[in-house]
Chain length 135, copies 2
DNA sequence: TATTTACCTACTATGTCAATAGGTATATTT
DNA sequence: AAATATACCTATTGACATAGTAGGTAAATA
């Protein structure tokens, strides 16, 4: 389940990619275009800055900007940063977790396959794949 | 994200499939074999009965039993009943929901594709695929 | 009648989600 | 220097879901 954190963050990234010509895009504008509460976006955007997905500049004329080209971001990376993990089951979130039922679990294989599929799906798609509206 | 509801229910189904020879399998035994709280399983198992995944019989010698052959259950069906929906995003859970951003949403296509992939993954797998331990 | 089982209602502790509120710091423009 | 526009920060909240626990009732068998 992808929450608004990941979904909104993706839309912010797309919005920034579409406005690459402008130096810095104010969050106010993004919030208005996307129809999302600016106050809520502030929280998400802060995490995105911390994770080096975007850069922010304060003061008049400030705003946010991508720090790479759209084709250099994978969707998986963006979502994983915002959601914490893309793993669909608790036992696969922490890679170091050594489940005692590991050797006898009848469903581990299923979840591992599912986990791989999700990972591949999102890491094989780039931000640039989403900026063209007519797809 | 698949919760314990879906995951435990799947393990109960596998356990019942493995013990098809016994007429009725008491929940106590399943809980012990699977290492899951019996009290918690009671809640899940009730939903499974209501959804006609399994049948329960009271009294001594009672317990639970599958009502079809293992190859006649898809994993998708079991998980969808327990989780409510397999959709990874809120806007796709309710089929009738007509999102006002539908025509302009930059991410709808991504989520629709993702949703289909998940659906196919689980509906193309049957309970019988999970009962053989050596896979 | 005693026992075993399913079945039922209610409660709870913890955490996450999706925000909101109100402020501070910094850069630019006038 | 002042006004303005922006990012950035801390704290709080209401609603809901998760993962159970507690204590009982109903029905079937031995």
């Amino acid at each position: 389940m992808i929450s608004t954190k990941g979904r909104y963050a993706l839309r912010v990234m797309i919005d920034l990619a579409r406005n690459e010509n402008e130096e810095f895009v104010p969050l106010k504008d993004i919030a208005a275009r996307q129809g999302i509460s600016k106050k809520y976006l502030e929280i998400l955007v802060r995490d995105m800055v911390t994770a080096n997905l975007i850069v922010g500049v304060r003061g008049k004329g400030g705003g946010y900007k991508l720090c790479r080209k759209p084709e250099e971001y994978t969707i998986g990376e963006i979502l994983e940063i915002m959601e914490g993990s893309l793993s669909p089951v608790a036992c696969l979130i922490d890679k170091k977790f050594d489940c005692p039922r590991k050797s006898t679990c009848d469903t581990l294989h299923l979840w591992t396959e599912f986990d791989s599929m999700i990972h591949d799906f999102f890491y094989n798609r780039k931000l640039s794949d989403l900026i063209n509206r007519d797809l």
